[in-house]
């Protein structure tokens, strides 16, 4: 049970970690000062959440592991984030599409996690959902602006949604740890979120004058630690200091 809870926490936190890292890459390079500040702020929120989750996971593990060991000293195959969040910052359209497709899920997930029997997790969810509802508003607004903006922005956001769509189905897969935790009343049964997710996403896309992709071919594997090639580079940066200077305090 302890081991399953530990895995379950990583399954939630790794998503925020990897997405936070991606958003952190953008700092100072956004299309406007306001978006720069917003993206930095979102990254900051996500890392704040990550710290709460990993601190809790470290406590559950009960050895000398720290939040930083968990964040920065695992091997590539041990990260269990979904493939969606590790996709690169190709351009602002990809960045917003990735965010939007994740935020909608993240918001719905936290709504449910607030009801968890595990009081620490429900407290983290309650704190995080305020931040994530802002993220969702921010990314949804941008989907609408880009979709219903100019011809160029429309075609860019359309392409990015089409490309990233293939990673959405994985959000609703249950891992073994998920199943155990759902039975304990601790975890969220994400399969139940799926229909509402696609309905809500479609609503925003329609408002943005975008078509809902029809493709039924989906990618999966992140939750089992089988990632896209992008993750390795991201981890190389994330882990650089901890690997180059092991066992030091910062």
């Amino acid at each position: 049970m302890k081991e399953q809870l530990y895995k379950y926490i990583l399954g939630i936190a790794d998503n925020s970690l990897i997405l936070g890292q991606r958003m952190g890459e953008l700092c100072g390079h956004g299309p406007s000062l306001e978006t720069d500040i917003a993206c930095t702020n979102i990254s900051l929120d996500l890392f704040g959440q990550v710290r709460s989750y990993y601190q809790y996971a470290a406590k559950i593990a009960g050895d000398n592991r720290t939040e930083d060991d968990i964040a920065m000293l695992r091997k590539e195959r041990e990260y269990v984030n979904v493939l969606l969040v590790e996709q690169p910052n190709t351009d602002f359209a990809y960045i917003m599409a990735r965010h939007f497709l994740f935020d909608m899920y993240h918001y719905m997930f936290l709504q449910e996690l607030q009801k968890s029997q595990d009081l620490t997790l429900s407290a983290i969810a309650t704190k995080s959902i305020k931040e994530v509802s802002y993220h969702l508003r921010f990314s949804s607004d941008w989907i609408k602006r880009l979709g219903d903006g100019t011809e160029e922005s429309h075609s860019r956001i359309k392409n990015s949604i089409d490309d990233l769509w293939t990673y959405t189905d994985e959000l609703f897969h249950l891992t073994d740890a998920d199943k155990v935790m759902v039975n304990e009343g601790v975890g969220v049964d994400v399969t139940k979120l799926k229909d509402t997710y696609y309905t809500k996403v479609s609503e925003i896309l329609q408002e943005a004058t975008l078509e809902v992709p029809e493709s039924k071919y989906f990618q999966k594997g992140g939750k089992q630690g089988i990632h896209t090639e992008h993750l390795g580079y991201l981890l190389a940066e994330l882990q650089y200091m901890q690997r180059a200077y092991p066992n030091m305090e910062w």
Binding site: Q21, C27, L44, D68, F92, G149, E152, S153, M248, W250
Partner: protein, 318 residues
């Protein structure tokens, strides 16, 4: 307006400044006052946003989650400073786009310190401690400057800068308590950032042409050399406290002046960097220009969307 009337207005204006009245955007002001303020405030704003680059560079590699969060928060603050300052400059009748244009064309300057590379994690400590530290010394003086919007922006910004400075110093402290490699990293960062930080106060007084006018308008309360001395006197004991050595063999306490004597600053290097030939001038400008150009389609989309929304609203109202 007749010459006499203008002269009258100018006299009243100077009298207000002497009385410590704040000048507000709608008040009459001499054209030179307006231009000088546009130049200085926009230069300050540009420094904030170019300053996001060397530190932003280390966000993905911060050594711990705690440090990463703190660095993100700091860089976000700097962006916020850029926003207030651009807004303050806009009250003088220049748009943000025009200011960006001046930055990108090289017409407007920004603080030269950001043309030095941030190579190691210790540089995040050195930048916070020394660069934000030097900025505070320059800026505290500006909290009482004559132009209202600038003075108010400064009050807000100074509070955050002093937080950044403590955070930077704390990074250095931690390194100096750590393994030998960490101590060396801290010393190396101090070695590289010490002299450029001293240059942040600008040329020596006898080579600083605008000083007299700026003092009169309270854009400056103390001279470059005075501020530099204050910075050195404040920083040397902080370095000693954490076992770091200031890279200046001539540094020596002078009991008579109650301050440190220090070695010669390499002004050739200073002018080289100011004129655009420092280690990172080209990269920094390229990063800003790229962000701006690659963002054009995004800004256009936002504008076009806003216009469509406006039209829809108008239609509904009819």
């Amino acid at each position: 307006m007749s010459e006499e009337q203008i002269k009258n207005l100018e006299e009243q204006f100077e009298a207000r400044i002497v009385r410590d009245d704040k000048i507000e955007p709608k008040d009459w002001m001499p054209e030179k006052y307006r231009q000088t303020h546009i130049r200085q405030i926009s230069q300050h704003a540009h420094s904030e946003i170019v300053g996001m680059l060397p530190e932003g560079n280390w966000i993905t590699r911060a050594p711990s989650l705690r440090r990463k969060v703190a660095l993100l928060a700091k860089v976000q603050d700097e962006g916020g400073h850029g926003l207030y300052l651009y807004s303050a400059a806009e009250t003088l009748g220049i748009s943000r786009d025009e200011m960006f244009e001046q930055l990108h064309s090289g017409k407007a300057k920004y603080s030269s310190i950001f043309n030095y590379p941030a190579l190691t994690w210790a540089d995040m400590g050195a930048i916070g401690w020394l660069v934000d530290g030097a900025a505070i010394i320059n800026q505290v003086a500006l909290c009482g400057t004559s132009y209202g919007p600038y003075a108010r922006a400064m009050v807000r910004i100074c509070k955050e800068e002093s937080f950044h400075q403590r955070q930077g110093y704390e990074i250095m402290l931690k390194l100096s308590e750590g393994a030998q490699e960490q101590k060396d990293m801290a010393q190396d960062a101090l070695n590289r950032f010490w002299w450029p930080s001293l240059m942040m106060f600008g040329p020596k007084d006898d080579e600083s042409p605008h000083t007299a006018q700026s003092m009169k308008w309270k854009l400056k309360r103390k001279t470059n050399d005075d501020l530099r001395q204050q910075f050195i006197d404040q920083t040397v004991p902080q370095a000693e406290l954490i076992g770091l050595t200031i890279p200046d063999p001539d540094l020596k306490w002078n009991e008579e002046k109650k301050g440190y004597d220090f070695g010669p600053i390499d002004w050739d290097e200073f002018w080289q960097v100011v004129k655009g030939h420092g280690p990172c001038n080209k990269e920094r400008m390229k990063a800003r220009v790229n962000a701006w150009e690659e963002g054009t389609w995004v800004r256009d989309a936002a504008m076009s969307y806003a216009e469509k929304q406006q039209k829809r609203k108008e239609k509904q109202a009819v």
